[in-house]
Symmetry: C2
Subunit: 253 residues, 2 copies
Amino acid sequence: MDIVIIGSGNVAAVLGRKFKAAGHKILQVVGRNASAASALAYELDTESANYMTLLNKNADVYIIAVSDDAIEKVITELELPGKVVVHTAAAVSKDILKNVTEHYGVFYPLQSLRKETSSLPDIPVFFEGNDEVAQKKLETLANSISSQTSTSTGDEYRLKLHVAAVFVSNFTNHLYALAESYCKKEGLDFRHLLPLIEETALRTRTTLPSQSQTGPAIRHDTETIEKHLELLKEHPRLKNIYTLLTESIQQSI
Amino acid sequence: MDIVIIGSGNVAAVLGRKFKAAGHKILQVVGRNASAASALAYELDTESANYMTLLNKNADVYIIAVSDDAIEKVITELELPGKVVVHTAAAVSKDILKNVTEHYGVFYPLQSLRKETSSLPDIPVFFEGNDEVAQKKLETLANSISSQTSTSTGDEYRLKLHVAAVFVSNFTNHLYALAESYCKKEGLDFRHLLPLIEETALRTRTTLPSQSQTGPAIRHDTETIEKHLELLKEHPRLKNIYTLLTESIQQSI
């Protein structure tokens, strides 16, 4: 397929690489950030533009991969009759695109994408078209870059996936960051924790997390919990989070 | 070395396998749980006993791998002069063993160990002996089973490591479990989240978590956060945790 990518951030870059690797042709990268757009265009062997007025109108599919609140700005006065136009946002309705074309939808990668990554991780893709033309084209596109594709069934479904993703990705990363800052303040080497971080994550492949909880909270090991809280008294934010998550673990049983 | 393992739970099983794989001889597994002790002894090609009175006195090193509060019971009336005796607990002082022998210490594996695992993950080991005899023997033992060994410098150091481990392992697993229960209630497939869980964890190999935070909280994307909280209104526990962790992420900037 011939594709135009609007945006030059993390999602634009990673999807662009995936499309290129799958043999699609990227006709253009459009982005306000001139250096990011031209760098991405160079990498994808195509040209870049910095204004929507310079948009190439000859693609089959237009991927709007910009931040949620920038979508509205991008599509002001945009008309692409006959084309398939999608955005990549979990939390934005596909209907925001209904005045752009008769074939629109969402192409949502459920992955924490960063353009700096050297590898291209496996990316589950949830797609959703408003009509059969969009649906078929998006299905083909999704299957060409991912082994894990699903049709999302409406805006709420995607938003729910996004909530779950925030818990397992954004919030776990924050726990890692809190441990990192704790280690730094206390003179410990954060790298000692890396095998533990990996093992805990990889265990979800074989065992449901509800079945593999370990630690002082689930054991109701009050003595250890009190020793930990004593150590955390100079770290009030960590102490709050420790207390709340310990209670939550104990309520889960 | 000739080793006796006291305990038959997760830590006992995984350390026992590591010792055996490194060429040490396990003389005996001692455990109150007769079936677990004999199963582990069978796996380690040795014999088991169910009472401390039957303890084999001919080993070089005794590993007490039982739950924190069981250590005291195990060592009642235990005397092993000339031997090296350690426990494996992060949150217990090594001095609890001072009446057992003149050479004692701690052998703490910083990993979430489960006996059901088929692979033997890499295990950072923190060891600490009360004198040179214990220190040297534990160093040799640790280096024989792990490429990541360190001397811990006192009980508080180990306890601090344990606090950090609770954040990156027990608490992250709980976030996974909350997402699992949310998915179940909302009809989503938790497995869709596995690539995201793995990518988030593996990223810590190359990027400090404080440098790789993503998501609506760090972007101060209030609109998305409010949509998420609206979805979570029937899940009060998740809503509380969502709110606290979102605030904490925003305070980190």
